[in-house]
């Protein structure tokens, strides 16, 4: 009887399906949720909180720099602030934000009900949360790391940073990479094995492609920084000599290991953003974006080439010029796929009557800001020029233009675009437009003058500067502009909070978009789709607007969590995967592993204890159980 109700349209069947996929309410149960929408939502919200925290740190830094020889902050605290600003933005905002959007949207876009490993998903979130909280607790205790977000040795090593701050950094960075790697593996497997029947790789939405490329990049880049931070932790804890010149080690080895990760990292952040741009443009021009194949190839090329650029962060270290030249060429090369994408998008927008809603405004803002950042990027790829502007405010200007333009603007476009899907309400257009205007103007007023400051010789990472340098006026203006920028972001925050209760009802598809997530309700039901869809084209909702003529999957049970596994390339139905229900083990394992990493800083033996305890947690997690049934008493 159970089987028949899967394609039964009766309210009872729907009610059972809903109960099966429900995340149980209550405070304690919150720690057992494994649904991709809950976990994705948490990633996005938490990343925005870290964004606000890191941004506030920046405002405090700007207040210190508002005048020469200012005494608002001491040197040590300022150094902790800029380290925390960079570390938080890169590790705790940018990557988790993109992952969060991916975790929330990818299953919906490919027509499935959850990700391949829901408990691993939850585990990744708790690891992220614990790592972020630990680092900010360190800051509040005045024990934050203070050697910059890329922690160059020997400064970051035990001889010159004997305090706990750098230990927090090495431990928590290694720890949070586990979260990113878990999400990456999951996203890859979900995208490869759970696409709706008929969704060949050629019919996958561009955003899903971008998440796939991002995830592969994470897989190969993050382990390198984990290896590096482990070696640094060993140097610090056990006096090992990996980065100590007098012991046969090399400080430059750290730079190689870090930047081999660090350069792909910024593209890891940017690639999903490019996917968002394609998505929003397609929707607001009401036609498929031009150059699907070119755009996919550009994403993949960006992913590959980004691994060949890392030495451009080391142009001034005294490496042989011939070797460095290779990296100039590679750095120039990566501009080509970016150029292809920019012009595919311009071609898509050409001659089309576009609706200038807030998501589209952020997309247009992306064009201006990102192109400026990209152009200064090509400039700093030139070795002689870089020898002047490396480690100066010119680079600070460049990196903020590409990150704000290439990641924050698209992310905010995505926020305004998908907020209705996630919450069922539209964000206020008026507040959105004001927010956009302030962010756009604020970004330019804050960061453009920094190019000038760098050329005028102002190095980066300085807590103060002397009166006679002539840098005071620009710094003053920049600090004021930073508050304009912050106000812009604040408006979006207010918009997001207020619209939850006062926004206009969104309906299923307020933008009349073409990807599958808009076929679900807003917000989606527990089960995402009443019946998993079958697709026959790249733009399922546009090519088949008549609901009654679309095709679906039947035969999945409603009393336990089942979803369809399809083949890798052709997405033919292959088998059915039985999913776990809510579980506390991911949280417990995260606690235990966190205990190991945090404990290591105080007593290395505690890491071994954590390692041993994690075996039990993993055993509890993986111990074979009968498939979870929603009809059973728990």
């Amino acid at each position: 009887m159970t089987r028949q109700i899967t394609y039964d349209q009766t309210p009872e069947a729907t009610e059972l399906l809903s109960r099966t996929w429900q995340s149980p309410p209550g405070f304690v149960s919150w720690f057992t949720h494994v649904n991709q929408r809950q976990i994705g939502y948490r990633f996005v919200v938490t990343s925005l909180i870290f964004f606000a925290l890191a941004g506030t740190l920046a405002l405090i830094m700007r207040l210190q720099l508002i005048a020469p020889e200012n005494t608002l902050l001491g040197a040590d605290f300022y150094n902790q602030l800029f380290t925390m600003h960079g570390t938080t933005m890169m590790f705790f905002f940018a990557v988790p934000a993109m992952e969060g959007l991916g975790i929330y949207l990818v299953p919906l876009m490919i027509g499935t009900r959850d990700m391949s490993f829901p408990r691993l998903n939850a585990f990744g979130y708790y690891v992220y949360l614990i790592a972020g909280i630990s680092l900010f607790v360190a800051l509040f205790l005045g024990m934050a790391p203070a050697a910059g977000w890329f922690s160059y040795v020997p400064l970051a090593n035990i001889a010159f940073s004997p305090g706990k701050g750098m230990d927090f950094w090495t431990s928590m960075i290694t720890f949070i990479e586990i979260s990113a790697l878990a999400a990456a593996v999951e996203l890859i497997v979900t995208i490869l094995k759970q696409r709706a029947p008929g969704m060949t790789l050629n019919r996958m939405p561009l955003f899903v492609w971008s998440i796939l490329v991002m995830s592969f990049m994470i897989l190969f880049a993050m382990p390198t920084v984990m290896a590096g931070s482990v070696l640094l932790a060993l140097d610090r804890a056990f006096d090992m000599q990996f980065f100590v010149a007098s012991g046969g080690g090399d400080p430059l080895l750290w730079q190689h290991l870090f930047w081999f990760f660090g350069h792909p990292e910024v593209y890891i952040i940017m690639v999903p953003a490019l996917g968002i741009i394609s998505t929003v443009i397609a929707t607001f021009t009401r036609k498929p974006v031009f150059g699907y194949t070119a755009l996919v190839l550009a994403l993949v090329a960006t992913g590959f080439v980004s691994f060949g650029l890392w030495v451009h962060h080391m142009f001034t270290t005294g490496l042989p010029h011939l070797g460095l030249s290779f990296f100039t060429a590679a750095g120039a090369m990566i501009a080509i796929p970016s150029g292809v994408q920019i012009f595919c998008w311009i071609a898509s927008l050409w001659g089309d009557r576009i609706r200038y809603a807030t998501p589209m405004l952020f997309v247009l803002g992306f064009f201006a800001i990102f192109v400026i950042g990209g152009l200064t990027g090509v400039m700093v790829a030139s070795i002689p020029f870089d020898t002047q502007v490396h480690d100066s405010y010119f680079v600070v200007a460049h990196l903020h233009y590409v990150l704000i333009g290439g990641a924050v603007f698209p992310f905010f476009a995505g926020l305004y675009y998908w907020y209705p899907k996630m919450t069922g309400r539209l964000m206020s257009e008026r507040l959105g437009k004001w927010s956009f205007a302030l962010i756009f103007i604020g970004t330019n007023l804050t960061f453009f003058p920094m190019h000038q400051l760098g050329l005028q010789g102002m190095p980066r990472r300085i807590y103060t500067y002397l009166e006679g340098m002539g840098w005071g006026d620009l710094n003053f203006a920049i600090t004021l502009a930073a508050f304009v920028l912050a106000t812009g972001f604040l408006l979006t925050l207010i918009n997001a909070i207020v619209s939850r209760t006062r926004g206009a009802e969104a309906g299923d598809n307020p933008w009349q978009a073409e990807t599958l997530e808009w076929a679900a309700t807003s917000p989606p039901q527990n089960y995402n789709f009443r019946h998993l869809p079958v697709v026959h084209s790249r733009n399922p909702l546009w090519d088949q607007p008549d609901l009654a003529r679309r095709q679906y999957v039947k035969g999945l049970r409603a009393d336990r969590r089942e979803l369809l596994v399809t083949t890798l390339l052709e997405a033919q139905p292959q088998s059915v995967l039985i999913m776990p229900g809510p579980s506390i083990w991911p949280f417990l394992l995260a606690l235990v592993v966190g205990f190991g990493f945090l404990g290591f800083m105080f007593q290395p033996l505690l890491f071994v204890v954590g390692f041993a305890l994690s075996f039990f947690a993993i055993a509890g997690w993986l111990w074979p159980r009968k498939p979870w049934l929603s009809t059973q008493e728990n």
């Binding site: 007098s246 150059g291 005294g318 001659g351 192109v371 070795i383 020029f385 010789g457 190095p459 002539g470």
Partner: protein
């Protein structure tokens, strides 16, 4: 002692606001052949960049404006041509020119210095610069700190090393920066084309007082430079007045563990060599203008000027301080 500190603070406060020379640090005011080439490269790239940015924005704006007027999206073929031309062909050409030009320029800047170059070894320490002039055999002929003189129109080859963490030697008006990496010896060279004073600053984050680790490079005509160098090689003159002799005794007792003055019993090497302190334009790694008020303030309370730097407070009676300042004033 308290009065000494009070005096020190007063001197700092009164003298701090005016920097008599605004010594510039701008890469856009080059004073060497290398810096001039880089500046030229910058202007070329800037105008190319502006042109490209305006072109891309104009295309975007035009496309959007056309859409507002009447809906006429680009067809498939037109779109393909557009992307191939604007996204692949033109960027490729521009990039090849840029990369080629940069590599060509870079090679000449990175090439070995001519054999007749002046050899200087600069060692970066937290947070000051040790400067040693070398003869052709590599022996040290003169040692100074935080202020480097160079002859105009003659190549200067700097050998860059570090005593502790990574620092970076950067004088924007004379040359791009090169890092000082522990365990490695790096090289850079430049030819100053104009006499003048140029400011340099550490450009690799090196800890607490990275912000105030700067130095001065003085480019002089060859004859003046040679006179300066010969003088720097000489030991300090023996003090003649009573006050100066008393000051020397204070120095040897309170400062000699870290600082060296050639010709005295102060032979410390933990801090800068002070043999010709009075001839320098600045103090504390180009943080303060060198005058008695600042010097008193610095000696009395270095932690006030550069909190966390390695020079401890040295409490001295006003009499000792005055004698010390008198002695230090003789170190031309």
């Amino acid at each position: 002692m308290a009065a000494g500190c009070g005096l020190a603070a007063l001197c700092l406060l009164s003298a701090g606001a005016t920097a008599q020379q605004i010594v510039r640090q701008s890469a856009l005011q080059p004073a060497s052949t290398q810096a001039q080439s880089i500046e030229l490269l910058w202007w070329i790239m800037l105008w190319a960049g502006v042109a490209i940015f305006l072109a891309v924005m104009a295309l975007l704006a035009w496309g959007l404006w056309r859409g507002q007027q009447h809906e006429a999206p680009l067809g498939l073929t037109a779109s393909k041509k557009f992307v191939l031309l604007a996204g692949v062909a033109i960027p490729s050409v521009v990039l090849v020119i840029l990369v080629g030009g940069s590599l060509f320029l870079g090679r000449s800047i990175a090439s070995a210095p001519p054999p007749d170059a002046l050899q200087v070894r600069v060692t970066g320490w937290m947070w000051w610069w040790q400067i040693e002039y070398l003869d052709s055999a590599g022996n040290v002929t003169a040692t100074t700190a935080n202020e480097m003189h160079v002859p105009v129109e003659r190549p200067v080859a700097v050998e860059l090393v570090s005593g502790d963490v990574i620092h970076s030697f950067w004088v924007p008006q004379l040359q791009g920066k090169t890092d000082m990496v522990p365990g490695k010896t790096n090289h850079s060279w430049f030819v100053a084309t104009e006499a003048g004073e140029y400011r340099g600053q550490c450009a690799e984050f090196c800890g607490l007082q990275h912000a105030l680790m700067a130095f001065v490079v003085v480019a002089q005509p060859e004859a003046e430079f040679n006179a300066w160098l010969d003088h720097q090689a000489e030991p300090a003159p023996t003090p003649t007045t009573d006050a100066a002799q008393a000051g020397l005794a204070v120095f040897e007792q309170s400062c000699g563990q870290c600082h060296r003055v050639q010709g005295t019993r102060a032979v410390g090497v933990l801090g800068p060599d002070l043999t010709h302190l009075a001839s320098r334009r600045t103090l504390a790694a180009a943080t303060l203008v060198n005058n008695p008020g600042h010097l008193a303030g610095w000696i009395g309370d270095p932690q006030r000027v550069k909190p966390g730097n390695k020079m401890p407070r040295t409490p001295l009676s006003p009499q000792d301080m005055n004698n010390l300042l008198t002695y230090l004033g003789t170190l031309e």
